[in-house]
């Protein structure tokens, strides 16, 4: 019962929050709503016995990602209302509405799971983070490391792209300009 109430509450809030995110004209509202929605989602995770995931969700999203966004927003000066000319809004809703409809139709039906066996079963008495840790550092060690590389890539990308060196484009400079520079 508790589960149902929690599910519906969380669902409602999440949907509303995300809806605000995608429709709000104010970037600040949108971001706040997104953060709220993310927290709600972590609520689902807790509800679904994925404690570790829930924590990660809160830390990464509401901590790191939102901080980054906030940072960006200050840079972009989008605290004011954003002007967006949405062309063919009906099409937007048609496309997404239809997609939602199709997905819902397909997913409402219960999925038969006769032959499904859990590869990494959640065991009674083992805390979720513990179990996750074991799987993560055995089976998913490689993806984990790759994810590390990915984060490295992202970091380098962020640094390089936002760096000062990008302000002057060597690509657009005609070769003569280099020689002139050298002469000076």
């Amino acid at each position: 019962m508790f589960e149902a109430i929690a599910f519906y509450t969380f669902s409602a809030i999440t949907i509303v929050m995300f809806w605000i995110t995608v429709t709000s004209k104010n970037a600040l509202y949108a971001m706040s709503a997104l953060a709220a929605g993310m927290i709600m989602i972590s609520g689902f995770f807790f509800l679904l016995d994925a404690d570790f995931l829930g924590v990660v969700q809160i830390i990464v999203y509401t901590g790191a990602v939102m901080a980054l966004y906030a940072f960006g927003m200050m840079f972009f000066d989008t605290t004011r209302d954003v002007k967006e000319r949405v062309r063919a809004p009906k099409l937007v809703f048609l496309l997404s509405g239809m997609t939602a409809l199709v997905l819902v139709i397909a997913l409402v039906a219960p999925i038969l799971g006769d032959h499904i066996e859990a590869l990494y079963p959640m065991k009674e008495g083992i805390e979720n983070p513990q179990a996750v840790g074991v799987v993560l550092f055995t089976k998913y060690l490689v993806p984990f490391e790759v994810a590390a590389v990915m984060l490295l890539v992202a970091m380098i990308a962020g640094i390089v792209l936002a760096g000062k060196k990008m302000d002057e484009s060597l690509t657009l400079k005609v070769e003569d300009e280099f020689t002139q520079k050298g002469a000076q």
Partner: protein
């Protein structure tokens, strides 16, 4: 309580991981070198990258086909090996293109080379696994690096290209995870072989739901493989990126995508999922045709090549749809041949790249630029013409053999209609390749200056072009050995 974990090193099969590790360590090494001493010349990094890739290639070739490693996350089957070889060879051909005589922004970053190596590693992970998670992570690693590489070209169009690619890539990532989720929902696993087993055991009872997942997967991979209508990024990104990178993009991400597509769709097609077959059929036909007719009306050679590479990808997707051993071998054969030809063609564009917009305010390589090239630079014109003819499928140049084999695969699997559509599309495509030849050979030059086409040419670039041209012309002698090897590998991995 948890049982203690005991893992023996042998079962980990570390060698399966070796190639990617080489690339990653190489990338880190470049970063370290840069940390130690700033402002080293790009030639050093180019050579380092080549060496790393070379070692990487060695590691790949040394691999035991059929191995799984690291708790079965890594899968080194034939597809993985050929896929990695193609990726590495293309990368080795690509990276010397940085040695231009003009200076371009991206090559002034050592990070460029590091990112490049990480990207290669990402692609390698993509092809060397049948775990949807690892594929996803590898894909994202490679993609994120690729976005950055494009943007590093540092001009408005490059950013525009990178952003477009990035945003659409994010959407595609969303599709991918949704697809994976549904796969997971119906099978309780994210490992393809496991999924296949479960589905078979279920006798595909969850097919309707599964199809939703497959639809998402088609959309996600369709984006990578630039299938219509997920292709819209391709021409813009190719146009915005530097020509060399565009050439690279037309080959490597796609082969990675093909391998993944083969893995994901392969078992479904072998299990006779008619829906997938029909949908792919339609998608392939539309991709080939639409890209072709859009390429007809382009004014820029690079953009035309972008559309043409979409069309070629569609052509090759057909092989996946057909799904026989011959078809899958044909895919690789085609793509290896395409690699040399297309990279050569883009390299020709790269060689003739101007910094200023002499010819057209928007395009770097409008057709007019190549007017009368034969009288200014005959060898260049002939080589470019060879690439164009090869792309058009004129025998005996390389791509003809690929087309021949793919079409033969279609015919042998009783898809004669498809073969005819392919033939007609080849004919249509000949028009736009011919257009360039017409400009080069049949028109008078607009600017009679011998340096027009060799702005960027340095010895390494010329060498690469010459090498590609050589392979394009004499591909016929390479087909048989390649076919032997590829078929052996493909067969070994059960496709």
């Amino acid at each position: 309580m948890l049982e203690p974990i005991s893992v023996s090193l042998e079962t980990l099969n570390l060698s399966t991981l070796a190639p990617m590790l080489v690339a990653i360590v190489g990338g880190l090494g470049i970063l370290v070198v840069d940390l130690i001493k700033k402002d080293l010349d790009k030639t050093l990094y180019v050579m380092l990258s080549i060496l790393v890739l070379f070692v990487d290639l060695g590691a790949v070739i040394g691999q035991q086909v059929g191995d799984r490693g690291f708790f079965d996350v890594m899968l080194i089957d034939g597809l993985a090996v050929i896929g990695q070889v193609v990726i590495l060879v293309a990368s080795m051909l690509f990276i010397p293109l940085a040695l231009t005589s003009k200076r371009f922004h991206e090559f002034s970053y050592p990070e460029f080379f590091a990112l490049f190596l990480f990207m290669v590693a990402g692609f390698q992970f993509m092809v060397a696994s049948d775990n949807l998670i690892l594929i996803f992570v590898g894909l994202e690693t490679a993609s994120l690096a690729l976005y950055t590489l494009i943007a590093l070209h540092n001009r408005d169009k490059a950013f525009e290209a990178a952003i477009k690619y990035f945003v659409m890539g994010a959407l595609a990532a969303g599709f991918y995870v949704m697809g994976s989720m549904i796969f997971y929902a119906v099978s309780g696993s994210v490992e393809l072989y496991k999924i296949a087993e479960v589905l078979k055991a279920d006798d595909y009872a969850n097919l309707p739901v599964l199809l939703i997942g497959v639809a998402f997967m088609i959309a996600a991979l369709g984006f990578k493989l630039s299938m219509v209508p997920f292709h819209t990024w391709t021409p813009d990104v190719y146009e915005g990126a530097s020509a060399s990178l565009a050439g690279y993009m037309s080959v490597v991400p796609k082969i990675a995508g093909f391998v993944v597509a083969m893995r994901i769709f392969g078992f479904l097609i072998q299990a006779d999922v008619v829906w997938l077959r029909d949908v792919l059929y339609a998608a392939v036909v539309i991709t080939m045709t639409l890209a072709n007719i859009m390429a007809l009306v382009q004014h820029d050679v690079k953009r035309m090549l972008a559309f043409s590479s979409i069309s070629h990808a569609g052509f090759v997707m057909a092989a996946i749809m057909i799904g026989t051993t011959q078809a899958n071998s044909a895919l690789f054969l085609y793509w290896i041949l395409f690699l040399f030809t297309n990279l050569g063609a883009f390299a020709m564009l790269w060689v003739s790249r101007h910094k200023a917009s002499i010819w057209h305010e928007r395009y770097d390589h409008p057709y007019e630029k190549f007017s009368g090239m034969i009288s200014i630079m005959p060898v260049g014109a002939v080589i470019m013409a060879l690439f164009m003819l090869s792309l058009a499928g004129v025998p005996p140049f390389s791509l003809f053999w690929g087309k021949l084999y793919v079409m033969s695969a279609a015919v042998n699997a009783d898809y004669i209609g498809l073969a005819i559509i392919m033939a007609i599309n080849s004919a249509i495509s000949a028009y736009y390749y011919l257009k360039l030849i017409v400009y080069m050979f049949l028109r008078a030059p607009e600017q009679n200056d011998g340096t027009v086409y060799v702005q960027n040419a340095s010895k390494p670039l010329q060498t690469i072009i010459g090498f590609s041209a050589f392979l394009t012309v004499f591909a016929v002698f390479a087909v048989e050995p390649m076919l032997q090897i590829i078929t052996a590998y493909v067969q070994a991995s059960g496709f």
